[in-house]
Structures are given as C-alpha cells and as structure tokens.
C-alpha cells in the first residue's frame, strides 16, 4: 500500500490514484462493524466515510466513558496495588 502510494505520488500530493482510495475505503469498510455486517460489499464511499465518522465518535465516547469509570474505580481501590497501577496505565494511554 505504501509503496503503491509512493509510486503514484507524482506532482506532489495531488496525484492520489483512485485505486488507493478504493483500497483504503475497503479497509475502513471492514473495520467499521456497522458497515461490515450490513453492507459488506455495496456501501458507497460516502456512506463508508460517514459510518466511519460515526463509529469513531462512538468509540471515542466509549473510551471516554470507560476511562471515567476506570478513574472512579481507581479511587476506590488501594492506590498502591497492582490493579491501581494497571488502571493508571490504561488511563494514561
């Protein structure tokens, strides 16, 4: 992929081949569960991008929410315990 991209990059950053984009959109399609389960083959690029945005937003929300809960948990357990260290590491990622 990267090699293909570099090959295609002529004239600066303006020469992005269609194939590259199609390929990337395909990858995204597989990553986003909503698209993968419902429209595995026929989701148009715009829909894939839209769903990707939605999915990223939901994931971000979820990470935020879980981190909040983790931090709350952290407060309840012994700060010196291994669990606390693990939780802290998770939160700091």
């Amino acid at each position: 992929m990267s090699s293909r991209r570099s090959r295609q990059q002529s004239g600066g950053s303006t020469r992005i081949s269609d194939d590259q984009i199609i390929d990337l959109v395909c990858k995204l399609r597989q990553l986003v569960p909503e698209i993968r389960n419902r429209h595995p083959n026929k989701a148009p690029a715009s829909k894939v991008l839209q769903e990707t945005c939605n999915y990223i937003r939901s994931l971000q929300r979820e990470v935020e929410d879980l981190s909040l809960r983790l931090s709350q948990l952290l407060d309840t357990i012994d700060a010196d315990s291994a669990e606390a260290s693990i939780i802290r590491s998770l939160l700091n990622q």
Binding site: I16, L66, E83, Q93
Partner: protein
C-alpha cells in the same frame, strides 16, 4: 478620501455610444462607470489617497482616468486600453492621454506610491500582486472569459451558479482575491484565456472570484466570497486529492460553456447541458465525499495530512487503536468491577495454562463467587461470536470443578477462535505495562486458589481477557499447546 471625492462619471455617458456595453469599471474600490471604449476613468478611490497621503492627488486625477477595472472584462480591459489608445475616438482626449501616458504615469506613480502604481500596473500590466484589497466595491471582474466579446458576460453570469464547487475552490485560491478584486482581475486576464483550455484549480479558482464579484451587490458578493473562502479553506484539505476529479468535471463544464456560448446551436447546447448535468451530479457526489473526508479528518487527532490516501490510512490506524483501547479499558473495568483481580497476565498465562479448560476456571469462578457473574455479561456484551457467547453462558452457573463438562464444548468452540484470541490477547497484552507483575489477588477468589492459584488466576485473566479482546476465547485451555504456540509468537 476627502480629496478624492470624485463624482461618478455618469454624466459622461452621453458621449458613449448607447449600443456599447456599459461596463462598470471598478477601480480601487470605486465603481467607475465606463464603457470599454469610453474610458472614463474615475479618480482613484480615497483609499489610494490615504495610502499616499494625498501627495499624488494631482497625479491621481490624471491616473484615475486610466485606472479602472471593467466589470467582467479584466482581460478585455487589459487589452482595450492598449488597443484603444489610438482607437478611442469618442474618448476624451484626456483618456487617450491617460492611456498612452499611463505607462509613464504608472512609472511615476510607482515611484511615488506603490499602492497607486500597483493599481495602475494592475490595469496596465497583467501581473497584479500587491494590490490592496478593495472589498467595498465588488471588483468588476468578470474575467473568466477570453476578452473577445461581451457575450462572455452573460456566460459568466450563467456560470456563476453552476460552479459552486469551483467557486469555492477558487475562492480559496483567491482568498486574497476575494477581498481585492485587483488581483484576480489582472490574473484572470491571462487565466481566462487559458480557462477554457486548462481547467486547473487555479484557473477555475480565478474565475470563480470574478464570478462572485460580478454580483451586483458588491459587499454581498465580497461577503459571499468570504464565505466561500471559508468554505474553501475547509475543503482545501481534500481539494488537492480531488483535483483530478474536479479538473475533469471543470473541463467538461468549461467546454460545455464554451460550446454553449460559441456555437449557440441547440444540439451543442443539449450536449453541453447533458455533460453539465452529469458533471454537476458527479460534483455533488464528490462534494459529499469531500465533506465526509473533512469530518473524518477532524475526528482524527493530530492529522496533518492533506491527501486523501494518507488521511484514510491514518483514520484506519486510529480506528484500530481506538478499538483496542476500548477493549482494554472494558476488560480492565470489568475486571475491576467484578473481582478486583488484575487480568493482565496474558503472556504469563500461556505457560501457566493448566490442562484444564478455561471453562473450568470460569466455572470455578462462577460457581464460587457471585461477583463473577459479570463475566458472562462481559462475554456476551463483547464482540464475541454468538456461538461462543452462547456456549459460555450456560456454563457460568455450573458448579465449580465441573471440569469434565466444561472443557469439552469449550474446546470445540475454542479451537476455532483460539488462534485469533491468542494472537489478539498477546497483542493486546503486549502494550500493557503490567505483563510482568503478577496481580495481587486480594479478591475473595484467593481462598480458592490453593494449588490452582496460578492456574486459576491465569485462567481468570484469560477468560476475562479473551472475551474482551475478541472472540470466544474462554475455551482456551484445551488449546494450551496451541495457544502457547500462538502466544509465544
């Protein structure tokens, strides 16, 4: 400003031939009404005076005459003055003088006042660069077309609407041009000639501003241009990547325009219209995609890529990392909530993996501690394969140490998902900094962890981790050798 309150040369119109197209000349923000032949130059707007401080007031008056920008005909204007210097019959002599002397005047002015000369030079010379923006009055730049005839004006007006994206693009290109009609005025002159031939972003960009400038509401148009500029700025990110798309569309559009205007025949018009329709729909689709791409780009942190492909690549990476992070946090959170055990020993688990199935461990947990109940929830809640979840579910309530029952179904199930789970686990576990530390099990489970202590802990971890990380994993134990292998990778 005060000095330059020159009256609008309306009264001069009578001398102008009626059949001539009255072009609204724009000069330094002031609209100078004038026909192409009848170059009635307005004095430069007060702005110029202010810049000069009024030193050139006298000269300005002289220069004003030739300082004008014809609306929608920058190109023509540029050409006309040169051509008409000798040909302007009805033009007042002074205008002719202005036309001729302008070069000298310009030179003089240049020396005296860079701003002023810039205006002049703009008018006279193609390269306009440092023209002070003249936003108040819409620059009469309708220069998109070759300055051959005024028919282009109509074309320009028609074009204004259909090319929103081009306008937006061009608006971005001419962020300065939007404010100052001068720049685009001059540039388009050369650009317009090329416009039909080459539909580069820049070319179309130049045209767009002129189109926007065409609108009668100068301020409104400038405001619109500003809006377009802002929009363009947003779109600029994806614009480069889509240049090739847009260019093709613009080319078609341009050619259609040219066909319409030049040929004027119905068939060509129909063809051009069909092509335009297609282009428009294509452009709309492209715009939608660009919109989404920009939204995606905004969501991705620290994304500074301007081309689509790398941006999509980053999106994919970010999505994967987000998914992993969510899994980890979920796992951690469930573990903490459930039993307070630290389930981060993926690697260690492999070696400690007892021969008994994970199901046993799970069942042990389940049976022993109510708090373990969350595990089944975890399993089902996570993205486990439905089958795995179903299998695991009923097992939870099983009494502890029902080893023989558990492993069997689990093994069958696990083997399928084992590899993936193991791999995932190892990958997930890898980033965790707590690999090395064996969790201090303070939870009530410890009482049950006599000889099975390590195994139990490990199994617990595995069970918890597996479902969180992926798939069905609880039935790992039967695959110990397999998991170990995969885990060791």
């Amino acid at each position: 400003m005060d000095q330059q309150q020159y009256p609008i040369p309306r009264p001069n119109k009578p001398s102008i031939a009626d059949d001539e197209i009255m072009e609204l000349l724009w000069q330094n923000g002031q609209v100078v009404t004038q026909t192409q032949n009848h170059r009635y130059l307005r004095k430069p707007p007060p702005g110029t005076d202010s810049t000069r401080g009024g030193t050139l007031s006298a000269k300005e008056e002289n220069y004003n005459q030739h300082l004008f920008m014809q609306e929608g005909e920058m190109a023509s204007w540029l050409h006309y003055p040169i051509n008409d210097d000798d040909d302007s019959p009805f033009d007042q002599t002074f205008s002719a003088d202005f036309l001729n002397p302008p070069p000298t005047v310009n030179n003089n002015r240049i020396m005296q006042n860079p701003h002023h000369t810039s205006q002049l030079t703009e008018l006279r010379q193609t390269p306009m660069s440092a023209v002070p923006p003249r936003p108040p009055i819409p620059p009469p730049r309708k220069l998109d077309q070759v300055p051959q005839n005024f028919a282009y004006f109509a074309r320009h007006s028609v074009r204004t609407e259909p090319g929103p994206s081009s306008i937006s693009r061009t608006a971005v290109n001419e962020s300065t041009g939007v404010d100052s009609c001068d720049t685009p005025a001059v540039q388009p002159v050369s650009e317009t000639v090329r416009s039909s031939a080459e539909l580069t972003e820049g070319g179309t960009g130049l045209e767009a501003p002129s189109m926007t400038c065409d609108e009668p509401g100068g301020s409104s148009s400038s405001g619109e241009a500003v809006r377009k500029v802002a929009e363009q700025e947003r779109k600029r990110k994806g614009r480069e990547a889509e240049e090739w798309e847009d260019q093709s569309e613009d080319v078609d559009f341009e050619s259609a325009e040219a066909k319409r205007n030049i040929c004027g025949s119905s068939s060509s018009v129909k063809r051009s219209r069909a092509a335009e329709v297609h282009n428009l729909s294509e452009r709309r689709r492209r715009d939608r995609i660009n919109e989404k791409m920009k939204a995606l780009q905004e969501l991705i942190p620290r994304c500074n890529k301007s081309d689509k492909a790398s941006m999509l690549d980053e999106a994919i990476e970010y999505l994967k990392s987000l998914q992993l992070q969510v899994q980890r946090v979920q796992l951690m959170q469930m573990m903490s909530m459930g039993c307070g055990m630290v389930p981060m020993m993926f690697r260690g688990i492999q070696q400690y993996m007892p021969t008994i199935g994970m199901g046993m461990g799970m069942s042990m947990e389940m049976g022993m501690n109510r708090p373990v109940m969350p595990f089944p929830n975890m399993l089902t809640g996570l993205a486990l394969p439905a089958a795995a979840a179903a299998h695991l579910g009923p097992r939870f309530p099983m009494p502890p140490f029902h080893v023989p029952q558990v492993p069997t179904p689990d093994s069958s199930r696990t083997q399928a998902a084992n590899q993936s789970d193991v791999n995932v686990l190892t990958s997930v576990g890898t980033p965790d900094p707590n690999h090395s530390c064996i969790p201090n099990f303070t939870d009530p489970y410890q009482q049950y962890l006599g000889p099975h202590q390590m195994q139990f802990q490990l199994m617990q971890n595995q069970a918890i981790n597996q479902p969180n990380n992926n798939k069905p994993g609880i039935s790992r134990p039967p695959e110990n050798p397999e998991t170990r292998q995969s885990g060791d990778k």
